[in-house]
Amino acid sequence: MSDSKPAPSPANAGAPDVLHIARLARLAIDPRQELELREQFTRILEAFKTLSTLNVDGVEPMTRPTDFTDVMRDDREHSSLGLDETLANAPARIETFFSVPKTIGGEQ
């Protein structure tokens, strides 16, 4: 597997690549903010490292606060919202579509 993003330079080794993260989040970041954001991000990650100090040997990962399994519904239709309500808060619409800035090239 080749990696498309540039390797971090030795000076920032281990620091988060905030421009890359911003790109994933579709956020336009002024490159002059990079340093500041990187420092903030680093502090956040440091804070979470506290969790790594806990001993979790033998503890099963828990992803939900309940023990439920297999909560399902029958394949029965409920009424949809209706176009007016669905589109009520759309900043822009064309016919019954949401209209958004042109964005070609998705993920998935």
């Binding site: 597997m1 498309s4 029965r76 409920h78 090239g105």
Partner: protein, 496 residues
């Protein structure tokens, strides 16, 4: 192109080096449920944009997804039909990315605990293409870019249930990919999981492909998208093999294939770079806390397994063995489950399996494919297997000619009437009455001295040229065999 298909590997026309393509397929298939995967909105193609949406599938704050039982059932049946192992416990994860067709900012999918792994499909050659896994996930909405200055978003598709089957990179030719897809599609349709209509997007295929010189390790793979037919899958693979080989053989590392997604342009038959592939961890998968795990018991699997229909491969073998059909005919008749069931009923009712096979795979399919008729599928036929078997019976007893049979079948498509009624109303009863036939034959012989002379000289086949006019005179109701006999008798009786 033959170098890609006729033997394993692609021999470069420039260097004569044999390159081995390495091909894996990812197939997304929409499940044929009534409602979406996590909400009760109708799963329906072609509805007014955004009319099939609710707080769950438009990601309103606080809305909670609940799994559709039927979607899991269809997914499990597919897994069993493909010989996969179903996990006793599986869970859902969030796959995070930002795009306008994904209102939540993540897709609910399955990451490290898919509901099933393994299984595979055996190709005609006997080669096994292994499945890595199948997982259950929701579809994204639809983004339309070619109407005006903005992108239009329709969320009707957001939340439609999908299963994604990922194959191992076991295929080496475009033909193998085509066979794999065809077999997978048949199975999905047989178990009732999907209608697999590529035009409606209910089956979508992505290709992962790389090439390597024989004996060398795998190289960088490229993902191909925008493949909306099996033929396009084949064509894109063939193009991409040549493109990658040429790129490596240029000797310039800057030209070498990079890990990326390429779109297939069906008009030009080429692939074009769309974007570099982001690393898997960039999706920042984490467990979906809103959905509890799924458990599937061994008893449930046994029950589902015993309820599976006979699968296409088994059915083809049975048709060859029990009905004496050729492998080709058995393949045509089993390609579609409804067609195959229609055939079996007709074969059983008429006790004429060979004739049923011939008439269904030729005449019936010809009419189904005729754009002048509105009927596109077996389910839409206006007549029943019983009517088809009556028609075959009349043909078998010589009550009507083959030509008349074709007319009757056409009229059955048009009117839905019983073949007996149609034979009578169209006046197609086969005329074996020799008085009428004698007259038509005598007329046909008038002025045909050359043919008469040929027949007398021993070239009895020459009389064939006169059978047509007699059939025409009888409006297709004469028995051509009898016509031929009468013509020969009349010639023999003529004074020389």
């Amino acid at each position: 192109m033959s170098t890609t298909n006729s033997e394993i590997g692609y021999v470069s026309p420039k260097t004569q080096v044999r390159w081995i393509p390495v091909i894996g397929l990812e197939v997304h298939c929409q499940l044929k449920t009534w409602t979406k995967l996590f909400c009760g909105c109708r799963n329906e193609f072609g509805a007014t944009p955004n009319s099939r949406t609710c707080p769950v599938c438009t990601a309103q704050p606080g809305a909670l997804p609940v799994l559709n039982r039927e979607a899991l059932e269809l997914a499990l049946r597919t897994a069993l039909a493909l010989g996969a192992s179903v996990a006793p416990t599986s869970k859902f994860d969030r796959k995070n990315y930002f795009y306008c067709d994904l209102p939540k900012g993540y897709q609910i999918s399955q990451f490290d605990q898919p509901y099933c792994t393994g299984g595979g499909i055996t190709l005609e050659s006997g080669k096994r293409v292994r499945l890595t896994r199948i997982h259950l996930e929701e579809d994204a909405g639809k983004a339309i870019h070619d109407r005006g200055d903005t992108t239009l978003v329709d969320l009707n598709r957001a939340g439609v249930p999908l299963i994604e089957s990922v194959s191992e990179a076991d295929m080496q030719t475009s033909q193998e990919a085509f066979e794999y897809l065809t077999a997978l599609k048949e199975i999905l349709q047989y178990v009732g999981a999907s209608d697999c209509d590529m035009e409606k997007g209910s089956l979508r295929c992505d290709v992962n492909i790389s090439v390597r010189p024989e004996g060398e390790p795998w190289r960088t793979k490229v993902e191909l998208k925008n493949l909306n037919s099996f033929r396009n899958v084949q064509a894109s693979i063939e193009f991409e093999i040549r493109r990658q080989v040429e790129a490596y053989e240029s000797g310039d590392p800057a030209q070498f294939p990079v890990q990326e997604t390429r779109l297939f342009d069906a008009e030009k038959g080429v692939t074009r770079s769309m974007r570099r592939k982001e690393d898997a961890h960039d999706y920042r998968y984490f467990p979906e806390p809103d959905l509890p795990p799924i458990t599937v018991s061994a008893e449930r699997l046994d029950r589902l397994r015993s309820a599976l229909p006979e699968l296409p491969t088994a059915r083809r073998a049975r048709y060859q063995k029990d009905f004496g059909l050729s492998a080709y005919d058995a393949g045509v008749l089993t390609a579609d489950r409804a067609l195959s069931e229609f055939f079996e009923t007709v074969a059983r009712l008429s006790k004429l399996p060979k004739e049923a096979s011939n008439w269904i795979s030729n005449e019936l399919l010809r009419n189904l494919n005729d754009p002048l008729l509105p009927i596109r599928s077996i389910d839409e036929l206006p007549f029943r297997p019983h009517d088809m078997s009556l028609l075959l019976g009349m043909l078998d007893k010589g009550e009507i000619s083959g030509q008349a049979g074709r007319k009757v079948l056409r009229a059955m498509f048009e009117t839905g009437k019983s073949p007996k009624d149609l034979v009578a109303s169209l006046g197609l009863e086969q005329v074996n009455d020799s008085a009428a036939l004698d007259d038509w034959c005598r007329e046909a012989l008038v002025g045909k001295d050359k043919i008469i002379a040929d027949v007398r000289a021993g070239k009895t086949k020459a009389v064939g040229a006169l059978v047509g006019p007699v059939m025409k005179a009888s409006k297709g109701s004469a028995n051509p065999q009898v016509v031929q006999e009468i013509l020969l008798r009349l010639i023999a009786e003529m004074p020389s």
